[in-house]
């Protein structure tokens, strides 16, 4: 039986880090993830962990130190948000291509400008092509649970992993949470035993080669394979975690989708709000459901196709805009998945919502379902690229 607690999402992540007791943390403060290195520094300074904490001068150096430490043979971690994640971006590519399973906690926040400290997913979506695994949490519990599974997944495929939650909405809000006992965490996460590492006295190692066109593409193909292989690992680790805690995880979560005719696809904390909207509509006899994407990288294309193929209409909710005069990033990938699978029945629209912390209410989601009902009955999709709850 787990330990019942009340923690904010940031506290829960820091607590998971403490239980894992990694070797090195390199971090730089930025709202709203600042608390994570703060809590963790207290663990370090009070001798509750063995971790070496590097208080770097920037996020760029935070990820650079993680790359150095992980390549040297250590478990390295960091935490960041927003512009901090942007500033790391160049190094995120290097971490992934060097196949270093670093773990990065992201408390998602909007990007400047205008400068804004509240939640949306533009930071995480901006780095979606860096080659990192990306898991998103709906609740504080999921942020904690995802973090405990992160290293198992990343180290199995040799890719770095981002554990994303919604800034302030879960990072700062306090929720009831069930913690896993320390011994169980240690046994579940296990020891890090890299095959090759810089500080191996028996075998020197060279990291970060210059690759000509003769070799570059093969290295990228291997990265792509690791990302494909990660799907099965995420399922397996999620099932094993479920056997230990009763909370099982996959790539997506389907909510009341069995006979759904209209559905929304959503990521993060707004899934909780949307589930309440689904419940209320279901009470009124509406056949509505929800798909929550937990793993955005790897992208759960097959799972989404299976879940969506029988609906009449769906809306993909993007808490970010690609500014391509067409759609947000998740809508593009969902539609590509459906098209590639030959599924053309369901009518799909895209909503850009919740930017810069714009509140997402149950009524907001009910409005989306009302639009979907209209589309399902008329077959007329209208404009697919829509903004939700915005003054125009």
């Amino acid at each position: 039986m787990g330990i019942r607690e009340r923690l904010s999402g940031n506290e829960a992540i820091a607590y998971a880090m403490k239980q894992i007791n990694p070797d090195v943390m390199g971090a730089f403060p930025i709202t709203p993830s600042t608390e994570i290195p703060q809590y963790f520094s207290a663990y370090v300074d009070n001798g509750e962990v063995d971790t070496e904490f590097i208080a770097v001068e920037s996020e760029h150096s935070a990820m650079s130190t993680c790359i150095g430490a992980e390549a040297a043979g250590c478990r390295a971690i960091s935490a960041t948000s927003s512009c901090g994640l942007c500033y790391m971006t160049e190094m995120l590519y290097v971490a992934a291509s060097d196949r270093l399973p670093i773990t990065l906690a992201v408390s998602c926040r909007a990007l400047s400008g205008p400068i804004n400290i509240n939640n949306d997913h533009s930071d995480a979506m901006g780095v979606r092509d860096t080659g990192w695994l990306m898991l998103f949490a709906e609740t504080n519990q999921e942020a904690y649970d995802n973090y405990l599974q992160a290293m198992r997944i990343g180290e199995a495929v040799g890719l770095p992993i981002m554990i994303c939650q919604d800034g302030f909405i879960t990072s700062h809000a306090i929720e009831n949470i069930e913690l896993v006992e320390d011994e169980k965490v240690k046994a579940f996460v296990g020891e890090y035993r890299p095959k090759h590492y810089l500080l191996n006295k028996d075998e020197p190692m060279a990291v970060g080669a210059y690759a000509t066109p003769v070799y570059y593409m093969e290295s990228k193909r291997q990265q792509a394979q690791a990302m494909m292989d990660a799907k099965e690992v995420i399922r397996k680790v999620g099932a094993e975690f479920g056997a230990m805690t009763g909370r099982t995880y996959g790539l997506i979560e389907e909510y009341r989708m069995e006979d759904a005719e209209e559905a929304i696809v959503i990521i993060g904390s707004s899934a909780g709000t949307a589930k309440e909207a689904v419940n209320q509509l279901r009470q009124g006899g509406k056949k509505v459901g929800l798909i929550k994407v937990r793993s955005f990288r790897p992208f759960p294309a097959e799972e989404l196709c299976a879940a969506l193929k029988h609906v009449k209409a769906f809306a993909v909710m993007d808490k970010d805009d690609s500014f391509n005069a067409h759609c947000g990033p998740m809508y593009a990938e969902v539609c590509a998945a459906l098209y590639a699978a030959g599924i053309s029945g369901p009518k799909g629209i895209n909503y850009i919502y919740g930017l810069g912390g714009r509140d997402v209410r149950v009524e907001s989601i009910q409005h989306v379902f009302a639009e979907l009902e209209q589309i399902a009955s008329t077959g007329d999709v209208g404009e697919t690229y829509r903004y939700l709850d915005v003054r125009e």
Binding site: D50, S58, I67, A71, A72, C74, L199, V207, A209, T212
Partner: protein, 310 residues
Amino acid sequence: MNYNLKENLMREERLSGGHRMCAGCGSPIAIRTVLRQLEPGDKAVVTGATSCMEVSTFMYPYTAWKDSFIHNAFENAAATCSGVETAYKALKKRGKIDETWKFITFGGDGGTYDIGFQSLSGAMERGHDMVYVCYDNEAYMNTGIQRSSSTPHFADTTTTPAGTVIPGKLQKKKDLTKIMVAHGVPYVAQTTFIGNFKDISEKAHRAIYTPGPAFLNVMAPCPRGWRYPSEKLMEITKMAVETCIWPLYEVVEGKYILSYEPKDKRPVEEYLKLQGRFAHMFKPGNEWMIEQVQQEVDRNWEALLKLCEL
């Protein structure tokens, strides 16, 4: 132990031959000389900033580095090295490592004076037990000889061409060595190749075996960028020292120590005339440029002598 060139050269090379650096380039000489000062039994992890040196020594599937080596990016060699050094501390604390490892970073002036400056400053301030070696060739040579903040006054580079209106680089060279001294690190030194390599060898040994952060600034000429015949390398570094354009000194725990005082300080022309990048300064009507450089060098030299008297 007294320095002995023969003994030093008998040590195993830790950067093997066959890499792709140009003949007459100072960078591999700096690297080989610094790495030779590691005690033969000691292990090392070397970090390299993106540079000529990196792309020429570590082109997949070959590496010239016999020690563990990590290249990350252009601007973050110091931060990367600080991560490796911290990993060593972490693994040592957990009893997973017994042997002694040293941590040495190499970067060009672009990766050190400019784009990597913040990363370097941060790593030095945090006090990692590492040596940062700048091989200073006074421009971005890897991308084709563009000016850096280390490029000397009036030098002709591809982004400061000696034109009809603007005569080369308008700004003076940044004094990075003194900026590193201002970080309060235990050991900072400026050196180059001279005579039997005693100066650079002893400084490298001190830098590696001084606990805490150390910074070594090594003038490392570039035959393409400076435009000299490759066999003139040692003549150029010698004249840089004899003219006091590149004085040799070290700063131990904040105390300035002059390593070499020329008996007969040579005029700057004797250094400038050896290099194509300064050729325009010798054209009729441009005498003022040489005069100005002489004044700058004199002023800097006097200031250094005063610091060394303190």
